[in-house]
Amino acid sequence: GVSKSSSDGSSNSGSNDSSESKEDEKLTIALSVGTLANPFFVAMGKGAEEAGKELGAEVIVESAEYDLAKQTSQIENFITQKVDVILLNAVDTKGIAAAVLQAKEAGIPVIAVDVNADGGVDATVTSDNYQAGQLAGEYVIEQLGGKGNIAIIDGPPVSAVADRIKGFEDAIKGSDIKVVAKQNGEGSREKALTVMEGILQANPSGTINAVFAINDPEAIGVEIAQEQAGRKDEFFIVGVDGAPEATEAMAKEDSSIYATSAQSPSEMVKMAAEIGMKVKNGEEVEDLIKVPVELVTQDTLDSYKGW
Amino acid sequence: MVVKEEVKQRSNLIHPVLDMQGISKTFSRVTVLKNVKIELYPGEVHALMGENGAGKSTFMKILAGIHQPDQNGGEIYYKGQPVLWKDPIDARNKGISVIHQELNLSPNLTISENILMGTKFPRNSLGMVKWDEVHERAQRVLDSMGSSLNPRQLVSNLSVAQQQMVEIARALSFKAEVLIMDEPTASLTDKEIIKLFDIIHDLKKQGVAIVYISHRMEEIFKISNRYTVLRDGEWIASGPIEETDPDHLVKLMVGRDLKDLFNRTKAFNPYRKKDIPVLELRNISDKKVVKNVSFKVYPGEIVGLAGLVGAGRTELVRAIFGASNLTSGEIYVDDKLVKINSPIDAISNGIAHVPESRKEQGLFLSMSVKENILMAELKKHSKSGVVRWKEVNATADRYIKELSIKIASPEQPVSNLSGGNQQKAVIARWLSISPKVLLLDEPTRGVDIGAKTEIHKIISKLADEGLAVLLISSELPEVLGISDRILVMSEGRLTGELSRKEATQEKIMYFATKGE
C-alpha cells in the first residue's frame, strides 16, 4: 500500500494531497513518440502542441529513441506527473503492454497513435503502414508494367517499418518484379545514401528500375546517390511519409522521386488527443480509427495538403 | 668471516643451489647476453658487477623467469635439476625472490597489500580477507626492517626511497632460497642501508643465496662473499671477494684502469661571497614537509643537500622548480624576486631540474633517446613551430657522446636503455638548456662508477663556468666528494651547514638526525 495515493483517485482529482497543484491548473496531455530524430514524429509533436492549444491543455512530448525501456520509463514518469491523457506512439506493439497496464491502473486514458499498442489502450488512431507499403508496391507495378528489377531500402527494426515492407512485398508478390538488393538505410538520408552507393556499384547501369524506401529521408538519400552517380534517368524512387522534404524534392522538374505514401502525423495526433479527452470525460469512443494513407505522386502533388 | 670461510669450504663440497650456464639473450636482433654464467651457493652474497647496460638486470630477469633465454641459450639448474621457468610466478613459487631495479608497486593499494601481493591473504572461513591480520603481517615485515612506515598508507603517497623499502619488504615477506637484489640501496640513505645489511646477514645465516647488484663499491666489500663481473653482456670473471679490490673490480668492469672517484679539486672560493647569489630562498615552506628554509647559492658553487629518507629534500627542490606549490616564502634569482608557479616559470628563469624518479617524472618511455634529450629544447631548434631535425640530431649526438650514453641508435626508444643510461639521458636534457641553476635530485642513482665520474666531471666543469648546482644525494661519499658546501635537512628544516673542509660523514649524520 505504499503508493496508494497516486493510483487511486484519478477520476475525482480533488481527493489527494497533490490536488491543489492540479485542481485549477490546465489539463496535461503527454505524448511519447518513437524518436524525435525523424521529422515524421516531430510533426506529431507539433500536432500535439496544436491540439493542446485548441483544447486548452498543457502538452508534454518525449522521445523514446526507439528504446522500449526508455518509453516504459517515460510512461512511468507520466504517471508520476499525473497527466490527464497519454498519447502513445509505441516503439513496440507488444512490448509496451506492461507500461500501458500501469497507466490504466493509475486511471489514465491511453490512446495509441500510428502504432498499435497492447495492454488495453482506450483507442487506437493509426495510419495503415501496411497499406502505405501496399500502395507503393501497387504504384511500382503499375509504373513498371509488372516487370523489372527493384531495390528495397529497409529501416530500423520496428513494427511500423516491418508493416510497410510487408505491404510492399505482398503487393509485388506474383508479379515479375525482382528484388535485386535489400539493404538497411536505418531510416536516415545519410545511411541510405551510403548503402545506395553500394547497391549502384553492385548493380551496373540499366539493372535497376525502381527503388522502394521505407521513408522519405531514405528516399532522398537514394536520389542523391543516384544523382551523384550520374544515373538519374535510370530508375524512379517511391517513399513513405509525404514529408515536406520529399514533397519539396518532388516538386522539382527532374525529380526521380515519383511517389510517396503520405500519412498525416499531425492529424492523427489531433484526433487522438480529442478522443483522449472524450475518454477522460467518460464518453464512448470507437476503439479503432484508421486514418487512410494516400499515395501522392508528382501529378497529384498540388492537391496534397502536407503535414 | 666465519660464514665466508664456511661458504668457501662448502662450495667445494656441496652443489650450488642455482647454476646458470651459457646464458644468451637477444632482443630484436641485439644480443644483450652472450654465454654468461653464474653459480650461487646457499648462504652466500654474490655481487654481480658491471657498467650500466652490461646486462646484469637482464641476466637476473632470466633467472627470475621474466625473460626466457634464447633458443639453445643456456641452461639453468636449480638444486641440481634443469629448470625452465614458465613465468615469474613459477620461479617465485619455487623460491626465487626479486627486488627489482625499477619499482614495481601498485600505487593505489596500501603498503600492506603491496608487500603481501601475490601471496594468499589471511582469510576467515567465509573466504573474507581479514584485513587486520594482513596489516599485522606487513607490520611484522616492516618492523624487522626497522621501518616506521604505516602499513595502511597508500603507496602513492610515498617518496621514492620509501617505495624502495616497500619493494624490499615484499621480497622479504616470503621465504626464498634465492634472493636477487637489483640495486636495492640506490635511493636509500645510510640508516636504512645499515638495517638492510643486518637483514642480509640474517638471511645468509639461514642459507639463502643472495645476488647483490650495486654500483656502490664500498657496499660490495662490506657484505659480499664472491663476485661476478659482466662487461658488454659477456662473463668476465668470478671469484671470492677477498681476492680482489675496488681498483681491480673496476678494471674488470670497464676493461681498463680508472682513476679513483672524482674529487672536486677547484673548490668554490668563499671570498666570492660578495657576489650576487644566483638563487636565494627566504623562508620557504610548503604544504607537506618543508618548513622555513632559507639559503643562498652562488654562481660557480656546488651545494650538496643531505638528509635522511623523507627529510623533505625532494619536496624542497620541487617547490623551487614550481612543480609543487609554496605556502610561504620568497625565491630570488640574481637578486630579483621571482614568481615561480610552474616549471615553465622556473625554466624561463634559468632553473633546470633533474627529478628523483626518472621513470615517473623524467622519461618519455616510448620516444627516442634523441627526443628525450632534446624535449626541453625543441623550441630552440625550431622555426615557427617546425622542428629542424638536422640540428636536433647533431645536438643529441653531441650529448650522447659527451655523457657516453650507451645506445644502439639515437632513434632507439629510451625504454630499451639500461637504468643508468636512462638517467644520463635525463641529465643531458637539462644540460642542453644551459641553465643558470641546476637542481639535481639523486642524479647518479643507479649510474655506474665510470659514468658517475663522468657526470661529476661535467657538473664540476659547468660549475667552473659559472653554473650554480644544488645536489641532492643520499650517497654521502658523493656529497662529500663534489660539494663546495653542504646543507643538511631534517624533517623539513635546514639543520646544518658545513663547508667543504669541515664536512665529514659523522657531522652530516649528526645534523641529519638532529630532529630525533
Partner: protein
C-alpha cells in the same frame, strides 16, 4: 559525488513536481536498475584498465534468447539462467581476446558490440518476442512489499560486488592489475585468469540485465539496450573510477548511476522540451564533475 547527488535532489525537489514522492523515487530506482546492474560489471572492467562496449548488445541478445527459451515451454528459472549464461559466454569471449591474446579491450568489445547485436537480430528475425510466463515477468515487472523486484536485484548485485572488491583476493587482484599490471604479473598474480573472470562477470551481469529488462518489457527486444554501454561507462566514471584503472569504488558507481537517473527523471517531470533536455543534461553532467572537483580541491 554523493554531495552532488544530494544537491541535485534538493534542487529537483523544488523545481520538479512530485519528485520527492515515494512512488517517483521508486520509479527512479526501478528505471536505473538495469543500467546499474551493467555498471557494476563495468566498474570492475574499468578498474582493471579495460572497457566493455558489448554490454548493451548483450542485454538484447540475452533478452531475446531467454524469452525464446521460456516460450519454448522451459521452466522460467532455467530460461532466465539461459539469458545470464548467454551474457557469460559473450564475456568469456571478450575476456579470452583481451586477456590471452592481449588485444585492446576497446576493439574486442566493439567487435562484440556489433556481432552480438547482429545475433540478436538474426535470432529474433528483427521482431520482438513476446514473453508470456508470469514468473519471468515478475523479475522485471513485479514487486515485493511495494518495492519493484529489479530494485532488489540491483541491491543484491551491489552488495555482492562490494564484498568481492573489498574482501576477496580476486577483488584485490583487480585493483592490483589496474594499478600496475606489470607489477601484478611479477608478483605472481594470475593476471590472465583474473581478466577472464572480470570480463565474464561483466558479461554475466549484462545477461542478467537483459533478463530483467525482458521481464520489465514483457518481451525480448532485439533493439533493447542501445547506448547502455555509454550510460554505464559514464556512471562508473561519474562515480569516481578512473579510466586508467586501479582507482575507484563500487559505491561511487551507484551514485553515478543515480545522478544520471535523477537528471533524466527530473527533466521529464519538469516538462522540459525534449531537445532542451539534451542540452541541459549535457551541461549538468559536466557541471556535476566540475563541482565535485572543486569541492574535492577545497576539502583536501
Amino acid at each position: 559525488m554523493i554531495m552532488i547527488l544530494l544537491l541535485l535532489c534538493i534542487v529537483l525537489s523544488f523545481t520538479a513536481p512530485n519528485f520527492l514522492e515515494t512512488a517517483n523515487l521508486l520509479n527512479v530506482l526501478k528505471q536505473v536498475s538495469i543500467i546499474a546492474i551493467l555498471a557494476a560489471g563495468m566498474t570492475i572492467v574499468i578498474l582493471t584498465g579495460g572497457i566493455d562496449l558489448s554490454v548493451g548488445s548483450t542485454v538484447a541478445l540475452s533478452g531475446v534468447i531467454s524469452v525464446m527459451v521460456s516460450s519454448a515451454g522451459v521452466n522460467p528459472y532455467i530460461a532466465m539462467l539461459s539469458g545470464a549464461a548467454v551474457g557469460y559466454a559473450v564475456g568469456l569471449i571478450n575476456g579470452f581476446f583481451t586477456a590471452k591474446t592481449k588485444l585492446p579491450a576497446f576493439i574486442v568489445t566493439l567487435g562484440s558490440f556489433t556481432y552480438v547485436r547482429g545475433l540478436a537480430y538474426v535470432i529474433s528475425g528483427g521482431y520482438p518476442i513476446v514473453l508470456e510466463n508470469e514468473t519471468f515477468k515478475f523479475i522485471g515487472g513485479g514487486s515485493i512489499i511495494g518495492i519493484p523486484t529489479p530494485i532488489y536485484i540491483m541491491l543484491l548485485v551491489y552488495v555482492v560486488m562490494f564484498f568481492i572488491l573489498k574482501y576477496t583476493m580476486f577483488g584485490r587482484h583487480i585493483y592490483a592489475i589496474g594499478g600496475n599490471e606489470e607489477a601484478a604479473r611479477l608478483t605472481g598474480i594470475k593476471v590472465e585468469k583474473s581478466l577472464m573472470n572480470v570480463y565474464s562477470i561483466s558479461g554475466l551481469l549484462a545477461g542478467l540485465g537483459g533478463v530483467v529488462l525482458a521481464g520489465r518489457l514483457y518481451s525480448g527486444q532485439p533493439t533493447a539496450g542501445q547506448m547502455y554501454e555509454l550510460d554505464a561507462i559514464a556512471a562508473v566514471i561519474l562515480g569516481g573510477t578512473s579510466l586508467v584503472g586501479g582507482r575507484g569504488k563500487i559505491q561511487g558507481t551507484i551514485i553515478g548511476v543515480l545522478i544520471m537517473g535523477v537528471i533524466s527523471n527530473g527533466l521529464t517531470l519538469m516538462d522540459v522540451n525534449y531537445y532542451w533536455q539534451l542540452v541541459v543534461k549535457g551541461g549538468v553532467i559536466i557541471a556535476a564533475v566540475l563541482l565535485d572537483r572543486l569541492r574535492g580541491d577545497s576539502a583536501a
